[in-house]
């Protein structure tokens, strides 16, 4: 016997058929996985890659497409650290807090970063320019302590490196409040 799960009516899907090409790309990924529910995490990865973060509407769109209850999709999206339900800053600074980095002074780097950027770890500056994050371990322990500036892993870091990075961004025309 096959059971078709009741699907709650979707709220306005105004943003989907709008011709936003990213939805087509997301559809393609779901199609590749034959809309199988077990591809949910792969689909969320792709959605975040395309949209930068997972908005409620985007999650609902995925839930409907994969025939999954909304709460299940929301539950999965909030279980994993990698998924963000809020927009991230244009630039990011990720301080690794793995053991090797910790033993070699990562806490001081994070403290300096928080002071320099004026935000706490896990937050984005009010102007949406910069996000400060932490990572559990990047596996680059051989070059600890490490910081990832805009996706580039850099090793043997010191607390003043965050300031250097910020200055460089400013030099490249970034306007940072405060």
């Amino acid at each position: 016997m096959t059971v078709t799960r009741f699907q709650p009516p979707a709220p306005d899907r105004t943003l989907h058929p709008s011709g936003d090409n990213r939805f087509k790309l997301l559809e393609a990924t779901m199609k590749k996985h034959q809309y199988r529910p077990d591809a949910l995490i792969e689909v969320l990865h792709r959605a975040q890659e395309l949209f930068g973060y997972l908005s409620t509407d985007l999650l609902l769109f995925i839930a409907n497409s994969l025939h999954l209850p909304p709460s299940r999709v929301y539950g999965v999206a909030t279980f994993y650290h990698f998924f963000s339900l809020a927009p991230k800053g244009e630039h990011s600074c990720v301080v690794c807090l793995g053991t090797a980095c910790y033993v070699r002074g990562a806490a001081a780097i994070l403290a300096a970063a928080e002071q320099t950027l004026g935000i706490k770890a896990g937050h984005t500056t009010p102007d949406g320019r910069l996000s400060l994050e932490t990572a559990r371990c990047l596996g680059a322990c051989g070059i600890a302590p490490t910081v990832v500036f805009d996706g580039t892993v850099t090793g043997h870091q010191t607390p003043d490196q965050v300031q250097v990075w910020l200055e460089r961004l400013k030099g490249e025309g970034l306007k940072v409040a405060g």
């Binding site: 591809a39 998924f83 090797a100 070699r104």
Partner: protein, 537 residues
């Protein structure tokens, strides 16, 4: 693909080799230090001197990550450390009697000479991005051998007799696990490679995949043949983009060469491998949580039994081993059970790869025979602590414990490490010097476990939160001796009642530091009754 074609690829690849090979590490550590532009400069420098007997090869990890980027010139084996792009032409010039501007490393240092490389036999030697390079090193011959000259039962027998135990941490006998899956009934079976290396301070699996991805795939294929599976998954952390990329490339290459997919080596054996990318959850290293995650659900563990070997992915028999375990398989099939069993210690055969990090002179990746002592690893290979003394060695990550310097003569094997209150774990080894406060270390790990607790079972969810709170009270000088006893009882409860390995081992860093460094806790205690003092402010 048949054996002749395989050998022809190897032969062709070997014929292409030039007499001098400049090997440049392109694994994550060295890439972060700029090895990609260095490699390009080396290629340009070789082109500039117009020598056709020299080639530049991007290779996997050479081990000494703390001194990267690393370059080795073979066959003489000259090792250069901390090489900058600007050093490239001088390295090439040195082949003509010039002087290289990059500092030279010592390839005869115990860091290298005390190693025994089985899992890492190709690391830093072959080009991980080219299947031909792996085949030239004898790759996929073990798979051919297994498919055409052995029955599944014989494969399992060899693995069993080799004495190989799971390298993910718990050390469960691999052959026994395989036999259970082989015996289990199901319309389909799965093989899963656990590459969700979540232990902070550990990067063995990342390095193996980045340096020699095909070896893992070959190991998985042999396992699938042995247990009767036709579908495999590699569950790899999202934090490892380079490893994912190399795995994807390797899978595509293997498929193209008929080494994965339908009718491998013209046998009746079919095996496909898909990659599943994790999304940042340490608990997914636990096998039932990992399976939930592969199924697209919250990565929450469930009680065992039933074990995955009987009821795993989608309720079907599933074999789950970690990266290093699979990487051990091709050499075992190639060289035989007796060969493997002759290496290592009595109850722990073979070698173990460790990520040696922390306050130590030489950080990086090493592979040593089981049974060597911690002292050999830390003092001889690692070169000890610069400007200080070893205080403790932490093995096993958040699930392990801190072993004090007085026990450095403990041999590295599953049982010995357990006896001193730690575990083998997946291979993280973090050295701490006498400036390290062990209560802080315990807190670091407990906070990690608390943040990573999935929240399903109460002892782990609420227990780790209380452990963290109590450690903070201790560190703030607001705890009494009675609180310390209570923390210890809480640790025992969480250890014995938690649903999965995360909770069951979360107290280990606290218990082991309490056992060996209790005076550091006691030094922070308040007098009885004065706990209330701080309320006056």
């Amino acid at each position: 693909m048949d054996l002749n074609e395989l050998l022809a690829i190897a032969e062709h690849e070997n014929a292409m080799r030039r007499s001098i090979c400049i090997r440049c590490c392109t694994a994550l550590g060295c890439q972060s230090a700029g090895s990609l532009s260095l490699k390009q400069r080396l290629e340009e420098a070789v082109a500039e001197v117009d020598r056709t007997d020299i080639e530049v090869m991007g290779v996997g990890c050479m081990g000494l990550c703390g001194h990267g980027p690393l370059v080795r010139v073979d066959p003489e084996g000259t090792l250069y450390e901390r090489v900058r792009a600007a050093d490239a032409s001088s390295i090439v010039a040195a082949l003509d009697g010039g002087e290289a501007t990059a500092p030279k490393g010592d390839p005869h240092h115990p860091f290298f000479t005390l190693q025994k490389r089985i899992v890492l036999e190709n690391s830093g030697i072959i080009d991980p991005e080219r299947i031909e390079s792996y085949i030239a090193a004898g790759g996929y011959q073990a798979l051919y051998h297994a498919l055409h000259e052995m029955t599944p039962a014989e494969v399992i027998d060899v693995v069993t007799r080799s004495g190989l135990r799971g390298r993910g941490g718990a050390g469960y006998p691999t052959g026994l696990k395989w036999a259970t899956v082989a015996k289990s009934h199901g319309d389909r079976k799965y093989v899963v490679c656990n590459a969700d290396e979540g232990d902070p301070g550990a990067f063995m699996d990342r390095s193996i995949i980045e340096s020699d991805p095909h070896k893992v795939l070959e190991g998985m294929a042999i396992a699938a043949y042995a247990v009767g599976a036709d579908q495999g998954y590699v569950y790899v952390r999202a934090e490892y983009p380079l490893a994912i990329q190399r795995l994807q490339r390797a899978i595509a290459q293997a498929r193209r060469h008929g080494l994965l997919g339908a009718q491998i080596f013209d046998s009746g054996f079919t095996f496909r491998i898909d990659i599943r990318v994790g999304a940042g959850a340490f608990v997914c290293g636990e096998e039932t949580a990992l399976m939930a995650s592969i199924e697209g659900r919250r990565g929450q563990p469930r009680p065992r039994p039933p074990y995955p070997a009987e009821s795993g992915l989608w309720g079907r028999p599933t074999l789950i081993n970690n990266v290093e375990t699979f990487a051990n398989i091709p050499p075992i099939i190639r060289n035989g059970a007796e060969w493997f069993a002759s290496i290592g210690a009595e109850t722990s055969k073979g070698t173990k790869v460790f990520a040696l990090t922390g306050k130590i002179r030489h950080t990086g990746l090493i592979e040593v025979p089981m049974g060597v002592t911690l002292r050999q690893i830390v003092e001889e290979m690692g070169g000890g602590v610069p400007n200080g003394r070893v205080k403790a060695v932490q093995t096993g990550g958040p699930s392990g414990g801190c072993i004090p310097a007085t026990l450095l003569d403990t041999p590295v094997d599953y049982e010995s490490l357990q006896r001193v209150g730690s575990i083998m774990g997946s291979g993280g080894m973090v050295v701490m010097d006498d400036a390290t406060n062990m209560v802080d270390v315990a807190r670091f790990y407990v906070e990690f476990c608390k943040d990573e607790s999935c929240g399903k079972c109460i002892p782990c969810r609420a227990g780790t939160a209380q452990m963290l709170h109590m450690l903070d009270l201790i560190r703030a000088g607001r705890a009494t001796a009675a609180d310390l006893d209570q923390l210890e009882q809480l640790c025992m409860m969480v250890k014995e009642t938690s649903l999965c390995g995360l909770g069951q081992s979360a107290p280990n860093p606290v218990l082991s530091t309490m056992r060996y460094f209790r005076e550091e806790y006691e030094a922070l205690l308040a007098d009885r009754g004065s706990a209330g003092e701080t309320m006056d402010r």
